[in-house]
């Protein structure tokens, strides 16, 4: 049953050291504000799940919060590599990072299976792919009707999932639209789901088949305008591409990274996000 609360409280009540956690968003609606709040609260030993662990996971890994990352594409979208993740994988800085790597198809199926309450996802995949040889969680099942061998991987069942969405109504029902990505599945697959939203409205006024997460499927809803920045919220503000470019420089150097995090995350608050998107609003 969703409770409205501050992002600070929602993070501290729902995230713990050692949790398996997903901050999901497929390019669109990335929960930057929630990730920054988690960074400020300084969690450790997290297992981070995400299809596209872009800037926010680069930040969390660089801050030494992650012991493991489960992912399918570790890049800065449109820019290139994730330099903090690379530094952890290649050099163990600031700590060694365990990786469990999948394809997008596998991860999408793993979230879908998690949302469906199943222990595994079954799909046609990984044929000839090198990941099947280096990831012991890629197994197979044999179809009892055709004999076809299909890929099987564990479903994603995070302890907690954080997503960002466009709006909630006053009961805490949440609507997502546009590039809906994997948000619904990631939220439903988790034991606890925390959603930051652009606004709280009286009535969602939604299309009959819109993507809606009912309030009883969520743990907490937090009003954080701009909370996806520098990602975007369809209908609210556009993507801040300059920030993504800038990140490539910041993350290239450990000291520059540390200083930037101090100034822009540790010394900042969730409320700062609203001002960051002011010039980007549509």
């Amino acid at each position: 049953m969703a409770k409205f609360m501050s992002l600070k409280d929602a993070v501290s009540e729902n995230l713990s050291d050692g949790d398996v956690v997903a901050f999901e968003g497929f390019t669109h609606l990335i929960p930057h504000a929630a990730a920054h709040e988690a960074i400020r609260q300084g969690y450790k030993n997290l297992t981070l799940i995400r299809m596209t662990p872009d800037v926010i996971y680069d930040q969390m890994i660089g801050m030494g919060m992650a012991k493991k990352v489960i992912f399918s594409y570790a890049g800065n979208p449109g820019v290139g590599l994730l330099r903090r993740l690379r530094d952890a994988v290649e050099n163990g800085w600031p700590n060694k990072l365990e990786i469990e790597e999948h394809s997008h198809s596998a991860m999408a199926n793993a979230y879908e299976a998690g949302a469906a309450g199943l222990p595994l996802a079954v799909f046609r995949g990984y044929r000839g792919a090198g990941l099947a040889e280096v990831n012991p969680n890629i197994k197979s099942i044999t179809c009892p009707f055709t004999g076809e061998i299909l890929a099987a991987i564990p479903s994603n069942r995070p302890d907690v999932t954080f997503i960002h969405a466009q709006k909630a109504d006053k009961k805490g029902n949440v609507m997502v639209e546009g590039i809906i990505g994997i948000q619904k599945e990631a939220a439903l697959a988790a034991k606890r789901a925390v959603v930051t939203v652009e606004e709280v409205v009286d009535d969602l006024n939604n299309h009959p088949n819109a993507t809606v997460l009912p309030h009883w499927a969520l743990t907490a809803v937090c009003l954080v305008p701009g909370g996806a920045h520098p990602s975007y919220a369809h209908g609210y503000y556009i993507r801040d591409n300059a920030s993504y470019l800038e990140w490539d420089n910041i993350a290239a150097d450990r000291d520059r990274f540390t200083a930037w995090m101090q100034e822009n995350v540790l010394n900042a608050t969730a409320e700062d996000f609203a001002t960051r998107v002011e010039s980007l609003r549509v």
């Binding site: 594409y73 090198g130 590039i179 619904k184």
Partner: protein, 272 residues
């Protein structure tokens, strides 16, 4: 730009655009494939269906997207579905006629590596990984690859099979139970390559105007084979160049003239 009046990158993009058919349903990789597909759409394939893995189906962006999740892809799409649906119903369901991929590293059998340089568990360089590529490569009816030639990019053997092309060649795909065609075309800045019908090794079938065999070999990490009759790729027409340059100019102008930076235009085109 060379004395030919166009760049090798323009030649590559235009050559790639020409192979796209009006009735193709194309799973589009970001960067060079995206440019080629959109040029095709603007020139000779107005009804081509472009699909990006973020879930946008039948998108018609006015400027080139930067990432697979740009807002304009959704705004101009026929519909936008969830990512699980994209991979389950549309890719795995067999609807994709062409999966169009870029590559960091490709070998002569069309195997692609975007995962690691060096040992997987102790990598020299950790690359972003495969994203959608492993299943795009196996579930699309055929796969086109486009990339600039270089000794780092075109290697004798990829260091990691991010996505499986023809493996060790021959009937290796069939032996693994993969019933799609795999890579049927490689378009570089210098040439057009197709797999040999038997060995499946990429073979030059057409060279772009002015390109020499030496240039092709110098930028390719394996001994290049040529078809019996190697054609010369027709040079870009004025119309093709005009459309491509307009698209790139629109893409550039879309953000430079405004404080509100439209998505997908500020950054260089790259990976997802």
């Amino acid at each position: 730009m060379s004395e030919l009046g166009y760049t090798s990158d323009e030649m590559m993009t235009i050559a790639a655009s020409r192979v796209m058919r009006n009735d193709d349903v194309c799973f589009v990789g970001i960067g060079a494939p995206s440019a080629a597909c959109n040029v095709a759409r603007l020139i000779h394939a107005p009804d081509i269906t472009l699909i990006y893995e973020s879930g946008t189906i039948g998108t018609e962006p006015d400027v080139l997207p930067l990432s697979i999740g740009d807002g304009e892809l959704c705004e101009t799409a026929l519909t936008t579905v969830s990512v699980p649906e994209m991979f389950r119903y549309w890719l795995q369901g067999g609807w994709i006629s062409v999966g169009f991929l870029g590559a960091a590293e490709v070998d002569k059998f069309g195997n692609i590596n975007t995962t690691v340089i060096g040992d997987y568990h102790h990598p020299k360089v950790r690359l972003p990984g495969g994203g959608g590529a492993p299943e795009i490569a196996s579930s699309s009816q055929e796969v086109y690859i486009t990339m600039k030639q270089s000794l780092r990019g075109m290697v004798e053997n990829v260091q990691f099979f991010t996505s499986f092309g023809h493996g060790e060649g021959g009937d290796h795909r069939q032996r693994l139970g993969i019933d799609t065609k795999g890579p049927t075309l490689l378009i570089t800045d210098l040439a057009i390559w197709r797999p040999d019908p038997v060995t499946k090794e990429f073979t030059v079938v057409s060279m772009h105007p002015g390109v020499t065999r030496e240039q092709v070999q110098e930028t390719c990490g394996w001994p290049v084979k040529y078809a019996k009759a190697v054609e010369t790729t027709p040079a870009p027409t004025e119309n093709e160049l005009g459309i491509l340059r307009d698209l790139r100019a629109r893409t550039k102008a879309a953000h430079e003239g405004t404080k509100k930076v439209p998505q997908g235009t500020l950054l260089k085109q790259g990976s997802e």
